[in-house]
């Protein structure tokens, strides 16, 4: 039987405010345990929450960026459950009246599927603290620095039909929130976390199958792999005559499988009710419109502009525009060297390779956009070849300096002097009797391929510095002269 996969995502995004959603404690990452947890975050008696205007502003920015209705009146509610990293015994969140109403984003997968994914709503809430379960004499250690960090939870409709689409949607949300500057996007540090609701149904069936929820996935690759393995599990189960149980499952990346965490029967009754400590949040059109004027160019618009302005392919433009620091970097390089395509190749090629290998974010790149732009200028004006440029880039990365300084210091300037190249070509021909004989004996139309050997010899003799175009021309001319 042919199966259709149905996926909806709930994405938690940590807002990059300076302080907590309901207290003036700092949200900076990496502080010593509990040094950023104040009396409000600890839920000490007598404390009251006061709502952070910046969290509200960021949530509205997100809503505007995903074409959503903004809730002019939104209400905080209490979601009650017990866990030691939630000192109040409830999470302050929104339910019936969220800040962001229905919206949508358009996604495209790398195999060309395009789809509009509807967003059901997005709401403001607070993060919980962290529990550490190891090495405390059978006790758990609780760090409440994260407690009260503002989050928006973005709930999609079940509109995605493959793991690839789910990953593309998550990437798009990531691109939007980082471009807006409302989240640092650091998934390894938990700044964006993803729950995936997955079900399968026979193709053509209207009714949704029973879903499972995959919790807390923190990389795009794992979203794809977790969903693929869960889909395979559900289909096997149904085809073997079983049925899917509604439950929460955890993805284990080591084993590439999901396993049950808790079933619906043990699910909490959260007993939501409006939080009496917080009044309804009311905003007006002028507040919303003032925020709209502050929105930066969004990833989709930037991609389209890159395609129009720089004649980039949709793929290149999509990759470059997905992450704002990378898009900014790219535009600086393109501006500095005046060749948009060359700049794209280098930012997505050599630079991306080095950043990956050194696990470095582009904002921390040891090679600045100005440095790379300077290097590409020297390719453009034939001072160096593309191959030599890679060598210069390597030195630039490890030791710093401008392209011109490195080219000068290392003597890498390309030899374009025809006289000098001719001299080297003559030497190579003189000591390559065997290859010259083969060249002469070959059919004229096959000789082109045989130039490679001579080319290699000349390049070796010049340390790669000879201009390849010039060498090719001179070689051909001299060898063909021998054939007559």
């Amino acid at each position: 039987m042919e199966w259709e996969v149905v996926i909806g995502l709930e994405i938690h995004v940590q807002l990059s405010t300076k302080t907590k959603i309901f207290s003036g404690a700092s949200t900076a990452f990496g502080a010593a345990p509990n040094t950023q947890a104040c009396a409000v975050d600890l839920a000490l008696p007598g404390t009251l929450p006061v709502f952070n205007e910046n969290a509200l502003r960021m949530a509205v920015m997100f809503g505007l960026a995903v074409n959503a209705e903004i809730g002019k009146r939104s209400v905080f509610e209490r979601k009650n459950y017990f866990y030691p990293d939630l000192p109040k015994g409830y999470q302050t969140t929104q339910l019936a009246e969220p800040i962001v109403g229905p919206g949508f984003v358009d996604i495209e997968t790398d195999d060309g599927v395009q789809r509009r994914v509807r967003i059901h709503h997005a709401h403001l809430e607070e993060d919980a603290g962290k529990s550490l379960h190891e090495d405390f004499h059978g006790m758990s250690g609780i760090d409440l620095n994260r407690a009260g960090t503002p989050l928006i939870e973005i709930v999609s409709e079940p509109d995605m039909r493959s793991a690839k689409e789910a990953a593309a949607y998550a990437r798009k949300i990531h691109a939007i929130v980082t471009t807006l500057g409302i989240c640092d996007g650091n998934m390894a540090e938990g700044s964006m976390r993803c729950d995936c609701n997955v079900s399968v149904r026979p193709k053509g069936e209207e009714k949704l199958g029973t879903r499972t929820e995959l919790k807390n996935i923190n990389s795009f690759r794992f979203i794809e792999r977790a969903i693929d393995s869960e889909v395979a599990r559900q289909i096997d189960l149904i085809e073997d005559g079983g049925s899917v149980v509604q439950e929460t499952r955890l993805y284990d990346p080591e084993r590439n499988e999901t396993r049950s965490m808790r079933s619906k029967e043990d699910a909490n009754d959260y007993r939501y009710f409006p939080c009496p400590d917080l009044l309804p949040v009311v905003i007006d059109d002028s507040y919303i419109e003032a925020i709209r004027t502050t929105l930066p160019e969004l990833p989709d618009a930037r991609r389209d502009r890159f395609m129009n302005e720089y004649s980039l392919s949709e793929y290149d433009a999509g990759v470059l525009s997905a992450y704002r620091p990378q898009a900014d970097y790219y535009e600086q390089v393109a501006g500095a060297c005046g060749d948009a395509k060359l700049a794209a190749n280098w930012v997505m090629g050599e630079l991306a390779k080095y950043l990956n290998q050194h696990d470095t974010d582009i904002t921390q790149s040891p090679v600045s956009a100005a440095q790379l732009g300077g290097l590409l200028l020297r390719i453009k004006d034939n001072t160096i070849s593309g191959n030599i440029a890679k060598k210069v880039f390597e030195l630039m990365w490890s030791e710093g300096g401008s392209a011109d300084e490195i080219i000068e210091a290392q003597g890498l300037k390309q030899v374009t002097d025809t006289g000098e190249i001719e001299k080297i070509v003559d030497e190579v021909i003189a000591r390559s009797d065997k290859q010259v004989e083969q060249y002469k004996a070959a059919e004229p139309e096959k000789r082109g391929k045989m130039l490679g050997f001579f080319m290699g010899q000349v390049m070796k003799a010049t340390g790669g510095k000879a201009n390849p175009g010039a060498v090719n021309g001179i070689l051909k001319q001299k060898l063909d002269a021998l054939c007559d």
């Binding site: 302080t19 700092s26 947890a37 709502f51 379960h133 949040v281």
Partner: protein, 95 residues
């Protein structure tokens, strides 16, 4: 609506309250009568009444995003039963 013994035990568990066996009948009766009152309230016609989020006729005030709380860990943890390496220690919450 009336509760039975197991309902009361479940509610106590959800609220993480330890209750005395002997008090369960009294709780059952009290809670049931509260629920009966709720039942009575449910009969009110709310067809044209908007849900009330807060009885006060006011809106939420907003706070500027400035750090106003300094580290007071030492003081705040002085009332905690167990602390280690800056962490609050609690009974283990995972198997």
């Amino acid at each position: 609506m009336s509760l039975d013994r197991s309902d009361v035990e479940r509610i106590a568990h959800l609220a993480r309250l330890q209750i005395d066996e002997n008090d369960i009948p009294a709780y059952t009766e009290n809670l049931s009568s509260i629920l009966n009152l709720v039942d009575q309230m449910q009969q009110a016609d709310t067809e044209n009444v908007a849900p009330l989020a807060n009885p006060l006729d006011a809106v939420q005030r907003l706070r500027a995003d400035d750090v106003t709380e300094t580290d007071q860990r030492e003081q705040l943890q002085s009332v905690a039963p167990a602390v280690e390496e800056g962490l609050f220690l609690v009974p283990k919450v995972i198997e």
